[in-house]
């Protein structure tokens, strides 16, 4: 089992993909830890670094970084929303 990760809007463009599947790395137990793990992939991924204005959803509900993540989850990262 793995997690499905989605990226939207400017973040999708920055990381150059809209989704991927990933086996949860050792030591990654929360959405925030997953974000930090991804941010270390390289230059294109710096948009995910702590301090950047990134929002996250777990299974299609907005969550904080402290939210647990488990195999089978759908995790999404995106900028603050601007609809309406």
């Amino acid at each position: 089992m793995s997690v499905r990760i989605l990226y939207f809007a400017a973040l999708r463009e920055a990381v150059g993909r809209s989704e991927e599947s990933l086996s949860l790395p050792v030591g990654v137990a929360t959405v925030g830890e997953l974000q930090s793990f991804l941010a270390m992939r390289g230059e294109a991924w710096e948009a995910l670094r702590a301090g950047r204005n990134v929002r996250a959803a777990r299974n299609q509900r907005m969550v904080k970084g402290s939210e647990p993540v488990v195999s089978g989850d759908e995790i999404a990262f995106f900028p603050p929303v601007t609809g309406g």
Partner: protein, 155 residues
């Protein structure tokens, strides 16, 4: 079907009429239409594209409607949000609320818009003379949503 996320335009008059039809106890329908403006942050806008998160979008909007229903006594609620490419003057969003009294209809309608602005996963990309750009979230939208956490419920 109180929430719709769609590419197609909507008929404001028909939506408002539907909010009170069959509910003779409704005395008040408050509604809001958001439109594409021809300028933003000092730049001319020739068009915009709205990206969204299919699946989550509908859930987020339904949760916002449920939250409004728990705060005020509402008979009917309708939310429609478009996605895709839109031009200045085009409709983006419709929120309509039917209630016995106007205070609740107004409060719930504005509440839904304020929450939608910070919680519904839509992102605007504007086409300007200098190229396309993603719209930055406005801090005042966070403030508009946050004030409902403290405000006394108006009836």
């Amino acid at each position: 079907m109180s929430v719709s996320v769609q590419q197609a335009d909507f008929d404001v008059g028909a939506e408002i009429a539907a909010l009170s039809r069959g509910y003779p106890e409704i005395g008040a329908v408050a509604s809001f239409v958001g439109l594409v403006r021809n300028a933003n942050d000092g730049a001319g806008i020739s068009a915009m594209s709205l990206e969204h998160y299919p699946g989550m979008t509908e859930k987020a909007l339904e949760e916002i409607v449920e939250e409004a229903r728990s705060r005020w006594s509402l008979n009917t609620v309708r939310v429609i949000h478009r996605f895709g490419r839109l031009e200045p003057g085009d409709n983006i969003v419709f929120v309509g609320v039917g209630s016995a009294h106007r205070g609740e209809a107004f409060a719930a309608c504005e509440f839904i818009m304020d929450y939608l602005k910070t919680r519904a996963p839509f992102w605007k990309r504007e086409e300007t003379p200098d190229g396309a750009r993603w719209v930055d979230a406005r801090e005042c939208d966070d403030g508009a949503a946050a004030r409902w956490d403290e405000i006394e419920i108006r009836r």
